[in-house]
């Protein structure tokens, strides 16, 4: 029974891996559209996707919400996406790393070497700006950024990207000689409510943010001309223009110079404030009458649940298939054990988002890199409990295996694994529950799942959307834990189950 049980466990894991491999099949005549994880980028990408579909040369696949520049540019450079919206300032600073570059032609030349082409400017510039509340602006006489230098007691909250970039806070601080009492990192969408609630005084904004109109904020003039120009363009892989010339021509024709600042602000407000979908905003811009593609939340949840389950099941299966042998090996050889446990321990200390971004150069974006990262994450509890479970068995019992002539796999399958099964299952349960949570981060590299709603909700500052992703994830974690409690009945020998023993 124990042998059958362990065979069933391994068999099930292999099956899941095979199913997943089948599911990630190659698509043909598909253009993958990427975006960063903020409203404007989502909307532009959605507009691009709809134009691609209209052109009829290829299907559009949306890989939206790919975190920041590092992730989305990384995805384009690696060929994991074909096109995404970008800004000239970002191209110069963060991609080409030549801050002095200002002309679009110079940028085209730089990107050409990497197989990337640049569209005509879309017509608006989304520059960084600093915003304050109107009452504070009136009270302190704040009109321009240089005015801030006289008020070192102010508190600021900046988006992580702004805080790091040389064309963001570090450069701005030096350029204007600014000092604040407190500078903290906040997710971009959360800076507005923080400012409105008076928790901070200064935030970084984008000049096309939809929230600017509603919250009655004052944009401080860049009187020292620090911020570079952030004209919006599309970045695409060269093959897109050569293989799908009509699509590229349509994109240039329908977008070049067609979106001015006011239009973009309106589109942003349309989703941020009126809670319409990105697709609706895009359709409105493209002048479609039947633009009301309502948020398909019902169908969406079913798809996302499947994606999330797939992420969890496959990565857990891989972690079990790898983790059990590694744990057994560690229990057999003490020297190997030290190196091994340290290795899986170190993986665990890498922040999940960082681990995910390391995967992009190796595996691109989407499900595969997410699965690799999640599998690595799930490894530690499994390796550790397998090692502990086997190496702490009663030595009189393990010694007896030698005397009885039980060696190799028989010793393992008949004695050691069944005896350690309670401990090992505890590790697998921990890994399962943690993976359900960590899998929500997969959305940052286009891995799908409930995280998609969380990332979108963050971009829209829409708590309902965030909860629509977070609550099902919590429910799934509970469900999976319950399922594994049932699995205990199959895997753990009857006489070792605590309930059975307590009953007598």
């Amino acid at each position: 029974m124990t042998r059958r049980a362990s065979l069933r466990l391994v068999g099930g894991a292999v099956l899941v891996v095979l199913l997943a491999a089948g599911a990630t099949r190659a698509e043909q005549a598909t253009l993958r559209v990427g975006s960063k994880s903020f409203t404007e980028s989502y909307i532009l990408a959605e507009i691009v996707a709809q134009i691609i579909e209209d052109a009829g040369e290829a299907r559009a696949e949306r890989r939206l919400g790919l975190g920041g520049t590092g992730l989305s540019w990384g995805a384009l450079a690696a060929g994991a996406i074909d096109i995404y919206p970008e800004y000239t300032g970002t191209i110069a600073q963060a991609i080409l790393k030549e801050p002095t570059l200002t002309s679009l032609d110079a940028m085209r030349a730089g990107l050409d070497a990497r197989g990337v082409i640049v569209s005509a400017p879309l017509g608006f510039a989304n520059t960084y700006a600093l915003a304050v509340r109107r009452d504070l602006s009136a009270r302190l006489g704040l009109r321009a950024i240089s005015d801030l230098a006289r008020h070192p007691g102010l508190r600021a909250a900046f988006d992580a990207g702004f805080l790091e970039r040389t064309d963001g806070w570090p450069g701005l601080q030096r350029h204007y000689g600014l000092r604040f009492a407190d500078v903290r990192t906040l997710e971009h969408a959360l800076t507005y409510p923080a400012l409105a609630a008076g928790r901070v005084d200064v935030i970084d904004v984008f000049s096309t943010d939809g929230q600017l109109a509603r919250l009655d904020l004052v944009l401080l003039a860049d009187d020292g001309h620090f911020f570079p120009d952030y004209t919006a363009v599309l970045l695409a892989r060269r093959e897109l223009a050569t293989q799908y010339p009509q699509t590229w021509a349509a994109l240039e024709r329908r977008l070049g110079g067609r979106i001015d600042n006011a239009t973009m602000s309106r589109l942003n407000a349309f989703t941020d404030l009126e809670h319409r979908s990105f697709a609706e905003a895009a359709a409105t811009f493209l002048g479609r009458s039947n633009a009301q593609t309502p948020r398909r939340r019902g169908g969406e949840i079913a798809t996302l649940t499947l994606e999330h389950l797939q992420l969890v099941a496959v990565s857990l299966a891989v972690a079990i298939v790898l983790g059990l042998p590694l744990g057994i090996l560690a229990a057999r050889r003490r020297r190997v054990a030290q190196a091994e446990l340290m290795g899986v321990g170190v993986i665990q200390t890498i922040p999940a988002l960082a681990l995910l971004s390391f995967m992009i150069p190796l595996f691109g974006i989407g499900q595969v890199p997410a699965l690799v990262a999640l599998s690595l994450y799930a490894l530690l509890p499994i390796v550790r409990t397998t090692h502990a479970g086997i190496s702490t068995l009663d030595p009189r019992l393990t010694e007896m295996t030698t005397v009885l002539g039980l060696r190799g796999w028989r010793r393992l399958a008949w004695i050691e694994l069944p005896l350690a099964s309670v401990t090992i299952m505890a590790g697998i349960k921990t890994a399962a529950v943690v993976t359900v949570g960590t899998a929500t981060l997969a959305a940052f590299i286009g891995g799908g799942g409930y995280g998609t709603l969380i990332v979108t909700g963050l971009a829209l500052n829409d708590v309902r959307t965030i909860l629509a992703g977070a609550i099902p994830a919590a429910v799934m974690a509970l469900g999976i834990h319950g399922a594994f409690e049932l699995l205990d009945r199959v895997v753990v020998p009857r006489a070792l189950r605590s309930a059975e023993r307590a009953a007598r």
């Binding site: 009189r396 005397v403 009885l404 009857r494 007598r504």
Partner: protein, 246 residues
């Protein structure tokens, strides 16, 4: 026959066995007697190959019997070391499964052993924690006898049992050793048990052999004051001593 010649074993600085030589004749029961820490269990573990001696040599000669050493020796320890996740029956047949016996042959042997050990057949379906201490030791002995090895090594087999169960099992062991004609080495710290079970007794102290011989030898011609002291401390009933001298 089991022969140890000048066997020495150290654990770090501690000398566990110091120049041990002893011979166990085929078909006899040899008792290793001594208090805890005297090295008696270490001798069994060296015979089993679980430990390697630092010096000296160990020879096991089971003339005629072939097969790997594990099939030559049955081993029983205090409290049985039965596997808690397996029923009594599954515990007993483990060595036969490992040796690739057919299910039929396993069942047949299991039944024979249950009769020999006077274990009720329905107890065979029980898990170890559902058995009494005495029943566990019977099952453990059945497992040791499963492959019918010529040699049996028993390490304090009755050490954890209550006096009545202990006396019953002692009597049963004497009968079985007589019937089966195994070469048996029993480790015990209990003088009375040594006298009941063993024909030859080796008294050990601090890893050395103090005296070797029959009960009469030890009682009447102690090689050392320690021998009288050890026997006296546990005060075997005089009647029994006289009985065995005859």
């Amino acid at each position: 026959m089991i022969a140890l010649r000048h066997v020495t074993k150290r654990f770090g600085d501690h000398v566990a066995l110091d120049d041990i030589s002893l011979i166990v004749e085929p078909g006899r029961t040899h008792v290793l007697l001594g208090s805890s820490g005297s090295g008696k269990s270490t001798i069994l573990r060296i015979i089993l190959g679980l430990l390697r001696s630092d010096a000296g040599d160990v020879r096991i000669d089971t003339d005629g019997a072939a097969g790997p050493p594990t099939q030559q020796i049955g081993y029983v320890v205090q409290e049985g070391a039965l596997y808690p996740h397996l029923t009594a029956a599954r515990n007993v047949v483990l060595p036969a499964r490992a040796a690739g016996w057919s299910a039929e042959r396993q069942a047949e042997r299991l039944a024979t052993l249950a009769t020999l050990m006077e274990l009720e057949p329905d107890l065979l379906g029980h898990f170890p924690h559902q058995l009494s201490g005495g029943q566990q030791q019977r099952v453990s002995l059945m497992r040791a006898l499963m492959l019918d090895p010529p040699i049996l090594l028993l390490d304090e087999p009755l050490g954890a049992l209550d006096p009545i169960t202990r006396a019953n099992l002692q009597a049963q062991l004497v009968r079985i050793f007589g019937e089966l004609r195994k070469t048996v080495v029993v480790v015990t710290h209990d003088v009375r048990e040594a006298f009941v079970l063993g024909s030859v007794i080796t008294l050990l102290s601090h890893g050395r052999i103090v005296q070797q011989g029959t009960l009469a030898d030890l009682a009447q011609r102690p090689a050392d004051p320690f021998v009288s002291e050890f026997l006296g401390a546990q005060a075997p009933p005089l009647a029994m001593t006289r009985d065995l001298q005859r």
